[in-house]
């Protein structure tokens, strides 16, 4: 009897739960997107328009003067942009080269203590940066690198445990036959890494590249510690300084925030699946 009722209900119940699902998706979806719409909308308003109640989502009239004010204005947003791009490019080079070598060593080369070092590598992933923040700051201070971009990307040349781990896992999945064949032909580890592993590892390299991009684009603590003069600032500290200064000009701030977000949006649209892969594999936050 119970089974019969269940069978009878089924064709009705599934559509209802699906309707609930889509209503919930639409509602939550709007809530998740609204902040972005609000950001862009505010950025296109005159200062006075932003302080109106109720607010208008499509500003009348539309103005792009907030964006224009960011270029060559009193706050050198173009400089911030350039500095950030330099840091990100250098960090990509540093991260991708160093992590490839180290990951290959952990995945394929045989050396004494490798397993122990691998455990050490995993342990360092749990260590909060704040614990070592002060001595690391002292190191860069001693080197005379304060107020330069160097402390922001030089460390990337020494690998990152998360990415090394991610790439090692990927490398382990590459068939050994390919490598053995190359060794028989006299190829050394450098050539094997460069000609076999790197071309086969495009997905994981892209994942690491995306994480590096987002991580350095959004990085705030590093620039906050090391940079002091306005001309050397990256977008994150620049924006932080800009927002603290003399009341808040929200339309201008939102224009800056929009410009700071656009590159991530573009990367996200182009490479979304590599982000997804990285997060699912490491459980790391973007």
């Amino acid at each position: 009897m119970a089974t019969l009722t269940a069978v009878n209900h089924r064709p009705v119940r599934i559509p209802v739960s699906e309707i609930v699902r889509y209503v919930a998706l639409a509602g939550l979806g709007i809530l998740f997107v609204l902040p972005f719409i609000w950001m862009v909308s505010t950025s296109l308003k005159e200062t006075g328009q932003a302080y109106r109640f109720p607010p208008e989502f499509i500003p009348q009239p539309l103005t792009i003067k907030n964006y224009e004010s960011l270029w060559g204005g009193p706050i050198p947003f173009d400089r911030f942009y350039l500095n950030t791009v330099i840091v990100v490019i250098m960090a990509e080079i540093g991260t991708l080269t160093s992590c490839t070598f180290v990951a290959y060593s952990f995945a394929r080369l045989k050396w004494w203590g490798r397993e122990v070092w691998f455990v050490v590598l995993l342990a360092t992933m749990m260590l909060p940066f704040q614990v070592v923040m002060i001595p690391v700051y002292i190191i860069f201070r001693t080197l005379g690198w304060l107020d330069t971009l160097l402390p922001l990307f030089i460390p990337t040349f020494f690998g990152n445990p998360f990415y090394i781990f991610l790439m090692r896992q990927f490398f382990m999945g590459i068939p050994r036959d390919l490598e053995d064949a190359a060794r028989v032909d006299g190829a050394g580890s450098f050539r094997i890494l460069w000609q076999i592993f790197v071309p086969l590892s495009k997905p994981v390299l892209l994942t690491v590249a995306m994480f590096t991009f987002v991580g350095h684009w959004n990085d705030f603590l590093g620039p906050l510690l090391y940079l002091s003069s306005v001309d050397n600032m990256t977008i994150s500290v620049g924006l932080a300084m800009f927002q603290g200064r003399g009341g808040a000009n929200w339309p201008a701030l939102m224009a800056a925030a929009t410009l700071a977000t656009v590159p991530i949006l573009v990367m996200f649209t182009l490479f979304q699946r590599y982000f997804v892969k990285g997060i699912v594999l490491t459980g790391m936050k973007g």
């Binding site: 909060p128 700071a260 936050k285």
Partner: protein, 315 residues
């Protein structure tokens, strides 16, 4: 380890050029292994282990960077125990963690269940929910400051539209911390993805079996989905707690610890002591306590894990 060396030797013997003595091969492979790993090994000593130990040493000193260090023994730690702001910042961080992390996990779970399945619509919403977690940073924190604006912000406008008088959020000691929690819920997209992967790994036959036993949707969620996802939930819980002990950027931008220290998170206090007051010794002591907290949380949770986490099928 001898096993892995063994397999190396067999690989070598397959080569025509294996005339080189074995000990030479071992040295060569060790040299190469260490050479390739050297960037990280160097970085580990210089940027992790060295600073880790140095941090402990500095915590035993009084130091403002400019004048020489003075050894003070455990006085920084003693001072910490009597420091109201230390306890306060710890309390703020713990209260935030207790409320924010479970809410984040619940939100991530809800989103994951909603977008689970195939179809362009679900794929689209996956991207929508995931995007905010990627954009995290100063820009987003500035955006939220504007959203929380009591008079002209979007949030109070929406609350007003449904007849609720919105609170003053960031300028109120009572509402600043809830505001930070609300903002954190917007960034659960990456946790959603982890849950989604774990949801999709649950075999259909478990649900079919539950249906035969007369389970309804809630039963299936409670008795199939949750147990099958327990290890993932547990993992995200650990990472969530550790992450919330390190919150900094959002707070620095949103409130800078205020109003009336209502959002003085632990790491913000550490930062202020180190780089505003230049009390490097005291700040290093704070850093070591942070390390111990993170370690203890991790260990306790892994101890507890065995009790309620259902790890794998067929075990």
């Amino acid at each position: 380890m001898s096993g892995s060396l063994q397999s190396y030797e067999t690989t070598i013997q397959a080569q025509p050029s294996a005339q080189i003595p074995r000990w030479q091969m071992v040295i060569r492979s060790n040299f190469q292994g260490y050479l390739f790993a050297s960037p990280w090994l160097f970085g580990f000593f210089v940027f992790t282990l060295g600073p880790f130990i140095a941090s402990l040493v500095i915590s035993l000193h009084q130091w403002d960077i400019l004048t020489p260090m003075q050894y003070v023994g455990l006085r920084n730690f003693e001072r910490m125990l009597q420091d109201n702001l230390f306890w306060h910042s710890l309390r703020v961080t713990v209260v935030y963690t207790i409320f924010a992390v479970p809410l984040q996990l619940a939100m991530a779970m809800l989103l994951a269940v909603l977008v689970n399945g195939n179809g362009a619509v679900k794929l689209f919403f996956r991207a929508v929910f995931f995007l905010p977690s990627v954009t995290a940073g100063v820009a987003v924190a500035v955006l939220w400051r504007w959203l929380f604006n009591p008079e002209f912000g979007l949030i109070n406008f929406l609350l007003d539209a449904i007849g609720i008088q919105g609170p003053p959020w960031l300028s109120s000691p009572a509402w600043a911390l809830p505001a930070v929690i609300v903002m954190s819920l917007w960034g659960v997209g990456s946790t959603m993805l982890i849950f989604l992967a774990s949801l999709q790994a649950i075999p259909d036959y478990l649900y079919e079996a539950a249906e035969i036993d007369g389970a309804n949707m809630l039963h299936k969620f409670r008795f199939v989905t949750l147990p099958m996802m327990s290890s993932t939930i547990f993992f995200t819980l650990v990472m969530g707690i550790i992450g919330s002990f390190q919150i900094f950027t959002q707070i620095y931008i949103l409130t800078n610890g205020g109003p009336e220290n209502a959002t003085l998170f632990y790491v913000l206090y550490l930062y202020q002591q180190a780089f505003r007051s230049f009390k490097m010794g005291f700040a290093s002591a704070l850093a070591w306590v942070l390390f111990l907290i993170v370690m203890v949380v991790t260990l306790i949770q892994f101890r507890l894990a065995g009790r309620w986490v259902y790890y794998e099928l067929g075990e």
